[in-house]
Structures are given as structure tokens and as C-alpha cells.
Symmetry: C2
């Protein structure tokens, strides 16, 4: 297993310790649990808290997106395993500024169960909470069953819009929740996987895939996609991904879209930009304007090779919130 680690069972805690040591002005691990990361400074009284969480192994998702204009706190599980109920409770307590707390995370059964249970406990403490799930992976269920979809890289765009809304003076829990709902419902993602990652405690690839084989529609834990077949040229793959996203979202000429081209880990920036060429030209040909774009590693599966493309249909509010400044090592405030 070619990973830079010590005891595999220490992978997550050592990694979080390093994160806090590297960025002490951004992140703080909660006193109550090393698996809860909050902002370095306590939440502003009256601010709606935005909390997320999920398994480790996806950095900078989820934890990395704690920061000003993004998340207030995050609960973290083992690699590819959901956070504990206690840690979800603790993350929400940390994010409680008296104006309620939104739980915004990916649609996975274990995470839902634990976050829901934690939410009930918070309600008993008199803290109002809401839930919005990211369910953007179009390969995981059809458009009529979109609520069953898994949450993947599109979640990051929801972090950004929701986090920006929550920074606005006087924004209410209902308003922040509505931005999250609107963003997640307008987001669609599809991924393509080239290699498996290695979960440290397993010590071997999560799934087998042939030397020239790829999987269209793969999930960020290696969940099966739509088809497996031989590697095709990047333009053909990107073309198919764009076509599937356009068909799913029924986006039409004259609309504006945010684009996220995301590496699943090992795939280099050079190749993401090769894909983005196709995204840009296909959208232009359809008369759809790219209003916002990010290319890089946002939601990974450690060293998995592959990429995903996300589209978020924009309205004026969402576009403004995407462009609002944020402070976090994994977000650049380019124009």
C-alpha cells in the first residue's frame, strides 16, 4: 500500500491534527471531540450556523470547507464512514449562534440517520435545526427519483452559496435553508473513474478495474456507475458527461450555469483543463453562459484517478453568493 501514513487507524486523527496545526487561524478542533472541526473563532451571535459532515478521505471535502463564508463546523467519520451521532451533536452545538443551525450534507443513509438523531437531540436543547441534502449524482438514480441520488462534488457549490447567505446580517434560518435547498435542487454531477483508491485500514484497492477500463458515473467511494468500458479520448468522455448533464437538467439556451470540474484525486489539473475545454465549447454551442467556474480538487477519493463535472443552474442570487468572498485554504477569491 503506497500511502504516506503511520498506523492506518490513526490516519484520520493525524490528518486532522495536521490540518489544525497548519491553519490555526481557520480551523479549531472542538474541545469535546477531535472529530469535530469548527472555525477558529466562535460563531457570531445571531448568525445561522451551517454544519456539514461525512466520512474522511475526501479532502478538502468536507472539513476543509470550514471557514468564513462557508461552513461553521463539521463532524468527521473514519475514511468513507459517517460521523458519529455525538460528533454531529457537537458540531451543531459549536455552530449554534442562537439563530438556528442548518445541516447540509450528502445523501448517504448512515449520515442521514446520525444527523437526524443528532438534530432531534438539539431540538430538545431548544436549538432550531433544518436539513438540506445534496443529491447531485445523476448516475445514482433517475431524474424522477432524484431525492435518492448520492451527494457528490456539487455539495461544494451549496456550501458556498449557503455559507455566503448565512454571513449576511440578519439572514434567518429559513432564508439560509432556502438557499441551500435551491442550490442543491439545481445541481447535477457526473463522475468518471479510472482507478480505485486505497482505504488505509483495508490496505488494498476498494474495487478492481482493468488496466484500460474506466467507469462512467462512478461514486466518490467507488460506487458503481452507468457503464464500464475501455478508456476513450477525453473529448468523447467529456462530451458524454456534458450531454448527460444537459439532458438531466433540461438546461436551455439563454440560461447561466456554474461549472465545477473536479479531480477525484490523482488526475492532474492538466487533464481537468482538457475536459473543461469541451465543457466550455459545448455550452457555448447551446447558448448557455458559464457564469462561474472552478477547476481543481474539491471532492476527492484520496488517490483515485478520475474526474467529475457539476452544473449548477444559476439565478442572480446564487451567482452573487458564489462570487462572495470566502476565507479558507481551499477557496480562491478569483474574479
Amino acid at each position: 500500500m503506497k500511502k504516506l501514513l503511520n498506523d492506518p487507524s490513526d490516519y484520520v486523527d493525524e490528518s486532522l491534527a495536521g490540518l489544525e496545526l497548519a491553519h490555526p487561524d481557520i480551523y479549531r478542533r472542538a474541545a469535546a471531540s477531535p472529530r469535530v472541526v469548527t472555525r477558529a473563532k466562535p460563531i457570531r451571535p445571531g448568525k445561522v450556523g451551517v454544519v456539514s459532515g461525512g466520512g474522511s478521505g475526501h479532502l478538502p471535502t468536507f472539513t476543509g470547507f470550514v471557514g468564513q463564508g462557508l461552513l461553521d463546523a463539521c463532524s468527521i467519520g473514519n475514511v468513507f464512514a459517517g460521523p458519529s451521532v455525538d460528533d454531529c451533536v457537537e458540531a451543531m452545538r459549536e455552530a449554534n449562534g442562537g439563530a438556528g443551525v442548518l445541516r447540509l450534507y450528502g445523501n448517504y443513509g448512515g449520515d442521514r440517520m446520525n444527523f437526524d438523531m443528532a438534530g432531534e437531540m438539539l431540538e430538545m436543547e431548544g436549538i432550531e435545526t433544518t436539513t438540506v441534502l445534496a443529491a447531485d449524482d445523476i448516475a445514482s438514480a433517475g431524474p424522477d427519483e432524484w431525492r435518492k441520488r448520492r451527494g457528490v462534488a456539487g455539495l461544494i457549490l451549496a456550501y458556498k452559496t449557503t455559507g455566503a447567505k448565512a454571513e449576511q446580517d440578519g439572514a434567518t434560518l429559513a432564508e439560509v435553508t432556502e438557499v441551500a435547498r435551491k442550490t442543491t435542487e439545481a445541481t447535477a454531477t457526473i463522475g468518471v473513474g479510472l482507478t480505485s483508491c486505497i482505504v488505509p485500514e483495508a490496505g488494498k484497492p476498494t474495487f478492481a478495474i482493468g488496466a484500460d477500463e474506466i467507469e462512467m458515473g462512478i461514486g466518490i467511494h467507488g460506487e458503481p456507475g452507468i457503464w464500464r468500458g475501455p478508456l476513450r479520448p477525453a473529448d468523447a468522455l467529456a462530451g458524454e458527461m456534458v450531454e448527460r448533464l444537459l439532458a438531466d437538467t433540461a438546461m436551455a439556451g439563454g440560461e447561466r450555469v456554474a461549472v465545477l470540474v473536479n479531480s477525484l484525486g490523482a488526475t492532474p489539473l492538466e487533464e481537468l483543463y482538457i475536459l473543461h475545454r469541451v465543457v466550455a465549447s459545448e455550452l457555448k454551442a447551446k447558448g448557455i453562459t458559464i457564469g462561474f467556474v472552478r477547476v481543481g480538487r474539491y471532492a476527492t477519493s484520496m488517490e483515485m484517478a478520475g474526474a467529475s463535472i457539476s452544473f449548477l443552474r444559476l439565478d442572480r442570487e446564487l451567482e452573487g453568493l458564489l462570487r462572495a468572498p470566502a476565507t479558507c485554504p481551499f477557496w480562491s477569491n478569483e474574479p
Copy 2:
């Protein structure tokens, strides 16, 4: 070959096309050559130009660091091959605001030859130029022969200090050059490689390395390092890297240092932070204060697994320049 590409001979140009399409407010390919990337806006008259260049396959190095507070222009070669003389000339012309142009790049024979020739041509056009070479890889030559060292990830810290200095009103070519010189001479880097990358036009791994084997001191093109041996725990590797850097730089208690923990590509953030834990604790034990830190993918070898650690001995000026704001997709202005 598991890469997302089309014809391997189009890898670089398609990638640069995507870069420009994704970030049109940051980057512009020069009219005279698609292998020269400049800032979207022409250089401010009277500003010293800072130019770099090198082979492709290291994104975000070199091209990605064109931006406000960083580089003015960059000439790009094929994967792991230096830029042409013509493109070096063109990059310097684009970066000429009438106050001279600094060439700041890594110490590789081909790049030197072409940049020197280009510099002579510019001088004939009446444009004053200077050169500073990054030579930070301590594995590539001993401290007494440090000028023979290769330039690796430490170059990015020099981009940052030099680029920030060049933004200051009235900064002269001599002053900007001096900041670059001071930064490069105070920077030391060591890398460890776990796997090879694949050069697109070669289509196979650049070098063979056993399934449990690693190479300490590897270069960013796979150049041989100090030793090859079985993979060790991350703490042992990071400990050795820190020890080698401290021995080379003779840094002592009471000093301040900037730290860059860099992935060579596939190695995920989780593992970089595991390494950073060790860096932080070893430096603390020595009484050395970390004044600035970045962890992420700054100088890669496409999908190579491995990491490097760079130290830059700080003085007040360099620390301030590192913290100055910059605008570029690959730089976050965290505190």
C-alpha cells in the same frame, strides 16, 4: 495509459486552452504564441515584470502562478521539456512595463540556455533584464555546490515574495531581483517519490519503482535521489526530511521559517497533513517558529505519488511579502 487526454501531442495546448477558458479574468494566452500565458490585463507601466517558464506537467507550476501579486507572464514547453527561445522572448516582451524584467525559474540546463538567449535578445531591444534561479533541491547537490541544485517546489515561495515586491509602487528591477535572490538562497526542499508519473507522449511510466519501494530525494521529473528502499511510516520519512533540511540550512532556535508541504500529484491532502504534524512538532522542539505555511499541490509531476517539504528562512521583509494578497486560482489569501 490511464489519462484523460486526446492525442498526446495536443496535451499541453489543450490544457492551456482550458486554463484560459476557465479563468479569462486571470490568464490570457499571448497573441504571438499559445505557449505564452500572461495576465489578462496588460502590465502596469512602470512595473517590473516577473517572468517564469519551464516544462509542462507541473500544474499549477509554472503557468498557474500568473496573477496579480505573482507572475506577469510564463513561457511553457512540452511536458518536462523547456520552453522555446521564442516563447521566452515573447513572455518577457509581454511582461515589459518599461522598468525591466526579471526571469525567475528553476535551475535546469535547457531552460537556462533558452532564457539566457532570450534575455540577450531582449537586451538588444533595450529592455533591461535580470535572472534568478531557484536551486532549492538539497538532494541534487551538496551545500557547498548549492548553485548546481535543481529547482523544485521552493520556487513557488520565490514567486510569491518576488511578485509581491514587484507590485509595490516604485519597486525597481534591482530591488525585485534582490528579493528573488534572497528568497531562493534561503529556500531548501526535499522530496520523496512513491510512484512514477506517465509522460503523455511516452505513454508509460518514466521510471520503474517496486510496489513497496520509495525514493528519498526524488526530483519532479523523477530524477534520482539519495536512497531507494522500502516504504517507511510517514513519521519516519517526514522526520528524516526535516532533519535533512535543518542540517542543510543550519537553522537554529529563535528563527522563523515558511513551510510548504507539497504533493507531487496523487498523494492526497490527508497524507500531506500527516506529514505536516511532524514538521510542526520537530520545528517546535527546536524552538523554530513557523511564520507561514501552505499545504497542497503546488509543484506536481502530474499523477506521481509523493510529497516534498520546503523551508524558507524568514526575515521580516520576506514574511510580509508572503502574506501580501495575491489573485490567482491556486493561491488562497488565508491569514
